[in-house]
Symmetry: C2
Subunit: 222 residues, 2 copies
């Protein structure tokens, strides 16, 4: 039995989902919420398996609510449902940690399949959105695993050198790296020099590019 919390500011919309989910015996609607704040509170309280989350709501929207629910660390998973397939919504929702994104015109059986998938730890994306998502994915996500092994360089880096490379990838100067790692600047220079030689980079700029292309550097963090 999958427990579900329905979040939508439209009572009628909630009613529709409620009826649908009640009509099958694999889901159990344990609560409803009309806006983001209530969704966060009730999720903490009711601990549903799945939160059916609307995006557009007065007050705290579904994206922010999703972010908070995910950050709270419970086992509840969020399935975002919206009428609009705006890229910004999809993007924001997924970055907020949603486990799925479906359009409200979804057929009932697909919604149920989606809830089932999300409840079991999988994720779902409406096919109409998946296409654009994949295009971005292919554009942005770098070479990755398969290539890492084949790649001359990364594998030959020592642990310390990899740490240094990550630090370089954060945009730190040799002095800053030395300070944070409690090393002398000379040592940092030695490490950086070896890293450059191993990965075939001319200078730290190309090292940063290498780090990004190989998934060593993470956006935003620091």
């Amino acid at each position: 039995m999958t427990t579900v919390l329905i979040v939508d500011d439209q009572p009628l919309q909630r009613y529709g989902f409620h009826i649908l989910l009640d009509s099958v015996d694999e889901t159990d609607v344990v609560g409803e919420a009309a806006h983001g704040a209530e969704a966060v509170r009730k999720t903490a309280e009711l601990r549903p398996d799945v939160v059916l989350m609307d995006v557009r709501m007065p007050g705290m929207d579904g994206i922010e609510a999703t972010r908070r629910i995910v950050a709270a660390g419970g086992r509840s998973r969020v399935l975002v449902l919206t009428t609009f397939d705006l890229d910004e919504y999809v993007h924001a929702a997924l970055r907020a940690g949603a486990s799925g994104f479906l359009l409200k015109d979804v057929r009932p059986e697909e919604l149920l399949a989606g809830i089932r998938a999300v409840a079991s730890g999988d994720a779902v994306i409406a096919p109409a959105l998946t296409r654009r998502l994949l295009e971005e994915y292919a554009r942005y996500v770098p070479a990755h695993r398969a290539d890492r092994a084949e790649d001359p360089g990364l594998g030959s880096l020592t642990d310390r050198e990899r740490e240094i490379l990550v630090a370089v990838g954060k945009g730190w100067t040799n002095g800053e790296i030395a300070a944070r790692f409690v090393l002398s600047e000379s040592t940092v220079k030695t490490h950086v020099g070896r890293v450059l030689a191993k990965i075939g980079a001319r200078d730290r700029v190309q090292a940063v590019i290498f780090a990004y292309d190989h998934g060593l550097a993470r956006p935003t963090t620091d």
Copy 2:
């Protein structure tokens, strides 16, 4: 009516898909191929709406075949089917330009829904894989559109400055940029300096990071 080409090195597997797709009237199997090379040839010849592509095959595998079919630029879309949900396969297939990725244990109706989606220009991913895909997506894909506007800096860059930033993001030195843009190195320095000031970067290293985080820099494409 959706025309389909079935690609799999196992005759029995092809047979199973053939029977399934023949049993419904919305799909029409127009051909079969036993390996990658044959798949590429028959796709060019038969121009199917959808190519059901197996990954593991002797000779040219499904990934490479997908790459070539997509590169050929026809309207055929590739739906990759495999028994193994290895990340490398998914990743490679999507980068190769596949419109979908499903596991062979998919239920018949889901396969048909997938074919339908792919034929209509959408994309599908097996829920079990979508989860991992999304995690990577959230990790790698940068701030993006919504944030770009709000972001102080990028919007205020002139066209020329943005070009320069992209060049810096490729790892080029000022001299190289000057050569490729047919400018004096002084001019490049002026531009770079202004870019740094506008985006709030200390040096070109941080500029590269900014470029990557904001989607200005593309992996690999030098």
